[in-house]
Amino acid sequence: MSRPVPDFYQSLTDLAGKAIKDRDLGNKITIQVGSATCEHAAGSQVIAEEFLRQIRASGRKDIVIHRTGCTGRCSREPIVSVQVPGRLPVKYERVNRDLVFRIFSEHIQGDAPVTKHILDRTSDVISERELMFCEGSRCRRPGPDFRARFIAMLKERAVGPEKVRVVASSCFGSCGVSGGKASTFILARPEKILYQISSEEDLTELLESHVLLGLPVERLKAKEEPIALEFLERYGDVAFFNHQSRIALRNAGVVDPESLEEYVALDGFKALSEALDRRDPDWIISELTKARLRGRGGGGFSTGTKWGLARKQADTTRFIICNGDEGDPGAFMDRSMLESDPFNIVEGMIIGGYAIGAQRGFFYIRAEYPLAIKRIQLAIDHCRAHGLLGKDIMGSGFDFDLEIRLGAGAFVCGEETALIRSIEGERGQPKVRPPYPTDRGLWGHPTCINNVETFANVSAILRYSGDWYARIGTERSGGTKVFALAGKVVHTGLVEVPLGTTLSKVVNDIGGGVSGGKQLKAIQTGGPAGGFIPASMQDMEVDFEPLQKAGSIMGSGGMIVLSEDDCMVDIAKFYMAFSQEESCGKCTPCREGTTRILEILERITLGKGQPEDLDKLHRLSRLCQRTSLCGLGRAAPNPVLSSIKHFRDEYLAHIHDKHCPAKKCVALIHYEIIAEKCIGCTVCARNCPVECISGARKEAHVIDQQACIKCGNCFDVCKFAAIDRV
């Protein structure tokens, strides 16, 4: 009676435990199908239905379909994972109807995985078990290279890959439990055991007992589990994932986003229960401050400080808002988190509400994200039904409720004062700051606005401590950051890495490098408010300050890889067009300035640039930066300034030589047929929309330059590389 919150939490976990137990998944074959917007787009719904049909047709009762959110492995979707009890899960990529049939008949019915279609397949061998060596910065510190030693031991004893596979993995985030000993963490799968190895003897025992005999070594077991245990268990063998450190995304692709029970079973609401039980909001704020958690929306402001500021206000009517108005073109972290692990975000918000003393919280989500809206609503409804929202949450006496407000297609609403206006039902135009929302925000009351990803980290920090989180990142910024990796990169998708990871590691090790074997030219971070990091600086560590120093920003996490084929003036123009289109129109420099900057960039890409244009761009850009009312206007010129800074030559080539080095700007290129290479197949002539290519069959063709509209069709369709873009 004296401790209602732990009692409440206990009954919640009992309830969840029973529900999970009733499903008896431990003895069943699980077919896991992703269910998020991008998975749906790739056809996952059809796949799931097809599996269901197969299961019914087979009459087997020991096969179930498990729907989860998205792992963030976008370019290989839909992804299907088949988990047979006691075995390592097998993931298939780009699954279609035919493959469903093969997976079902060969793998599930016939016990022979369809190795050709395994996700990021590196070998045809299906290992019995796997050992993942944590290579986070703390585990990798000077000392014996346990992984190399272990591989050598395997070789000595001729233990092959069918028995065990050894994998290097990014930080498990287990450092907090190491107790200061120099040691390395190893995750053994499929047993899901975390070992802590400090000596060669430990390694030997691990090999002899666990690997060869299948007997777990109790002595070496770590005291706690890594936060992303379930994730690692399911996806740890894939290079794309095991170079990541998943905290915010730990449940993405693991839990059924519509199941409260599954979330609770993964220690969901444990952090909330502890926070409420302590009856000490300041403890939450102090943990976040220790964690050095900084706003993941791009501002990088300390979350602990922000919450502390709101908490200190005399006005006790307070609000907390989750900013899910993810608007950067090329960013989809927030959508994925909202869709794949909604309860985690809800938990983060309730904790935030308690910390600052708010009564109401709002999810502000883009209307373009219907699935995210649906899942958050479902999560809110479940939480209300289970006493996790509403009056007297978890028996603690804390009253708090959440509601969703929809965005309606305005990038500027990601700016906090504009977002507040939008929630108030107004045109989303920013207001002058100060006063900051923590002083006077929604309806004039203290308001905290945090990004989705910020909330996604809160429960983990409270469970594993602020110090633990701080150790994962850099001196100035704790923890991890999620990036949406896209553009000219082999593997596109969601990447969560410790702050301080190098850009190169993200792009090359995780992203698999530039697609098509092209040269890396630059990495764009921060979306339209960000800038370009040239390839020469790819060893830069990802953190707020270094990026800003290089003329870019962290932003909310968009990361676009640009190759030698991309024209920097053209890309700068693309971002400027976006900012100009999204300018709210309230203040002069942004409304008028972005328009003029765009006009100049358009002029340059059309080959009509004037020598003074660079100065004008610079002057207008500085004007926007220095005098715009809100962050959108102040950051809008960043792509222009950073591209001028790092790629001035390209601008000069456009302006002075009327030449586009990347051969991208249509007005500055033309197509020619190389007579020696042309075999006269006529394909180009047939595909020319303006019929400007002439030539007899089996003779070299010619392009009429006057008539050519430079659409590039001929270039794309020629199989003999006989068309030259100059």
Binding site: T37, H40, A367, E368, A408, G425, T492
Partner: protein, 189 residues
């Protein structure tokens, strides 16, 4: 000297007219919100409902919302024109949204868009003559891994090449024809 009191009040009559312009669920939503503090903050949510119901926001809808929510009409139209998600013109059966997010842009979304324009004979913001397709561009739909993508209705298609556009459009035309046939079939019998 003066006519009697209530005859000059046009509100009951106006209110009847405005209520007739919106469906029941939206009226109920508005009425419910009117009971709450700061009910004007539900304006955007109400506009979403109307667009969800009618596909666009007509002048009459906006007027009815203004009057029934007691929010100045200028504010309502100011809000409706600020947010690009809101459409003030009716649109075709299928809305095609070309994603012009960065990933799609660098992977050739413009060429796909051009092909769509050529095939449909319309530009952004327009509706095809048969009333089946409307073409819009949108900022990132968040499926960058599939770039370049377009959305037709709620469905995302990608990665697309210009060459795949005609087949894709044909599949929707066939669907539209099926729907039409299904709708007219009972009457035929």
């Amino acid at each position: 000297m003066s006519a009697c009191c209530s005859s000059t009040d046009n509100w009951p009559e106006l209110e009847r007219g405005y209520r007739a312009m919106l469906p029941e669920d939206i009226l109920a939503f508005i009425d419910e919100n009117r009971q709450m503090d700061r009910s004007e903050s539900m304006l955007i949510a109400t506009l979403h409902m109307i667009q969800g119901h009618y596909g666009h926001l007509g002048p009459g809808h906006l007027e009815a919302v203004a009057q029934l929510m007691q929010v100045p009409l200028a504010k309502v139209t100011g809000v409706a024109t600020f947010y690009h998600y809101f459409r003030l013109q009716p649109r075709g059966k299928y809305l095609i949204n070309v994603c012009l997010g960065t990933a799609c842009y660098v992977k050739g979304a413009e060429k796909v868009a051009q092909k769509l324009m050529d095939e449909l004979g319309i530009r952004y913001g327009e509706t095809s003559k048969d009333g089946i397709f409307s073409l819009e561009s949108t900022r990132c739909v968040g499926t960058c891994g599939l770039a370049p993508v377009i959305m037709i209705g709620d469905e995302v298609h990608g990665p697309l090449t210009p060459g795949q556009v005609p087949t894709l459009l044909d599949s929707y035309l066939a669907r539209a024809a099926e729907d039409l046939a299904a709708a007219s079939a009972p009457e035929a019998r």
